[in-house]
Amino acid sequence: MSEQGTQKSGGLSRRDFLKLMGAAGTGLAFAPFIPFGNYMPNPSSSSLEKVPVILPDGTQAHVDTFPVNHAEVITYPSTGDAALDAEAFRKWQFIRLPEELGGSKKEISSFRGYSMICLHLWCLWKYWPDEGRKRGECPCHGTMYDVLSGTAYVGPASVQAAPSNTLPKLNFEKDSDGFLWILPPKWGVNDNGVIGYGRFT
């Protein structure tokens, strides 16, 4: 009360100075805890390497033996831990296109690998090779995916704005013996896509 005169003279009052110091001290005391927020996201991610396409029966996919107009579920990146490999985020539809879309060619171009996580509400879709279908269908809300591009053309995922209408994909490579390999993907909307979010075509 007595320092009202000094306050007029422009200086910081003692009370305000103490408050400022108190706030700064409190802030500094808790500042080191901000990076602790990194505790929350799980950092474990398998290293992304070039690995063979391992089919559910344990064999490596081969251009000569994998049937045309057919799909299998592959796990990538596979960890060897059964609990982690049961992860839907690691499940991909490995599809050989039907004949009319060029699936009979013994080339990489006749294979597709799309994340099984539907872009709408993250159900797991699958490829239906039946005559008249030949597309990916989600069992939950009926989104249909074009097997050539991985883009939804019917259903709720198709009305979502890009990139959330196109499935993330895997790129493959064929070695000289005809065996198929998965190339290390880059998780980004402009590259292989983000699982559950999508990819720009």
Binding site: I117, L121, G142, G155
Partner: protein, 524 residues
Amino acid sequence: MAASLERRTGVTAFFYWLWDGLDRSIFTAIKFSFPARFVSPFGFLGMLTFIVFVILGISGALLMFYYQPILDRAWDSVQFINDEVPFGFHIRNIHYHGSNAMVLLAVLHMYYQYFSGRYKIRNEVLWVSGVILGVVTILEAFTGYDVIFSERAELAISIAASLTTSIPIAGPTIRDAALGSGFSDFVLRFYAQHVFLLPIVMLGLMAVHFPRFLVFDVPMVMAIGGAILITGGVFPIDMGFKFVPTQPPGVTVPEWYLTGIYAFMRTQYDKFFTGLVWPLLFIISLALIPFLDRYKKFSWRDRPMITAFGITGLAQIMVTTYWGFYISPNVKIPLVERLVIDPIFFYSVMILLVPLGFGFTYMMIKLANESERKAKLHKENAPQKVATINLTEKWINWLLVALLAFQVLLNIAAYNAALTGMKNVSLFFVGLILLVFAGFFHIYRYGLAQANNPPPPPPPEPKEKPKLKESQKETEAGKLPKDSGKLEEKKELAPEIQIPKGKTDDGSDVSKSTTTGSTDVSKS
């Protein structure tokens, strides 16, 4: 007869000492009343919700002994509980049906308070904390049915995670931080939230939400417990199908308290708006109700606009809840046509329900006012009091013995059913036992109240009601000097409880039945 029971033995003295010691704790701030006669359960639905919360806490803790929150083991561990662990089926069914009962009771509790205008008279904080508590309750129930990791649970988790991701800008970060990077994280973190984080939040909110006057009605609590068990016996919850990532799941719908939101999401519009913004708007408008309601009166009849909004909202919830469940059984048409709800049709129905809700409310208020006017006109014709069943002492005693014998029979039947593997039958019988105990306790307290009354005077007079009250007071007054000073204080508290109750009750038609003739536990 009474004297021998009222003498304090060592154990009784210890309990009195304990009861007096509680005076130092927070519990004396809460005024419990144990009704001595039937009280309408609408007045203490919140307390019943809390009781079910306690039941869920106990049964959930027991389930934690066996459950494994691991992606490929969660379902198997639940199956182990269900099929192998003795009485695991019972515990799981109690937990599952208890969760449904808790959500249902919480919703009923909220709507009762809503239509009777209890959120007024400085109860705004209670109301808002209650709305938040309700939302957390639903999240708690939701995370609970997800950790089974059946097909339906996996779909529910994927919807929750994808909705979180759909929040603009911060969504993916929130999802990564709160739910983790994949399904193995989701299961584990949903579990952590289900068994610890959300219950702790609920307990904290309850500390704010609990009013100071609480009713603990033993028969009604037992009846609710019995109803949960009987429902479990009649509709035992199945295991669902184990989720296998290589096999796309079948068509499923969420639990009944979420199908309303699910119906909105099935209209194909943006999932962020239909799945998050619309429910959030609904919750916020509910929370704001006490600040929008400017009516001076409490009864729903005197607050037409608020009642109309409530009725409309209720009608929309019912319609969307049903619509969310409904999937055309015709498997010939494509799935997308079976599942996607035509948004124009859907939203037109939502809008149409507004005038219907308002019209219905208008009609109900008119009818209620009319019937009240008629009742006032013909007051002399109306029955003076509600019909009562008066049992003599002998018949009360025989009834209690008969109910005890019935309970023995049911106990044998329940145990026998459990032994022979008829789990749901035994669950049904245990529920029946609780119901019988509810009736037993009601008759017991009725008998106690009768025993406190002196025998009726020889000339029967027509004015029965005031006489009874007087005689009750006499016995109470006569008992008081015998009791200790502390007990005297508590006896004085009992009538206090009625005063605020009566205040909040005014206007609502239930007030007649909520005359809490409170006794306290020390009454023997």
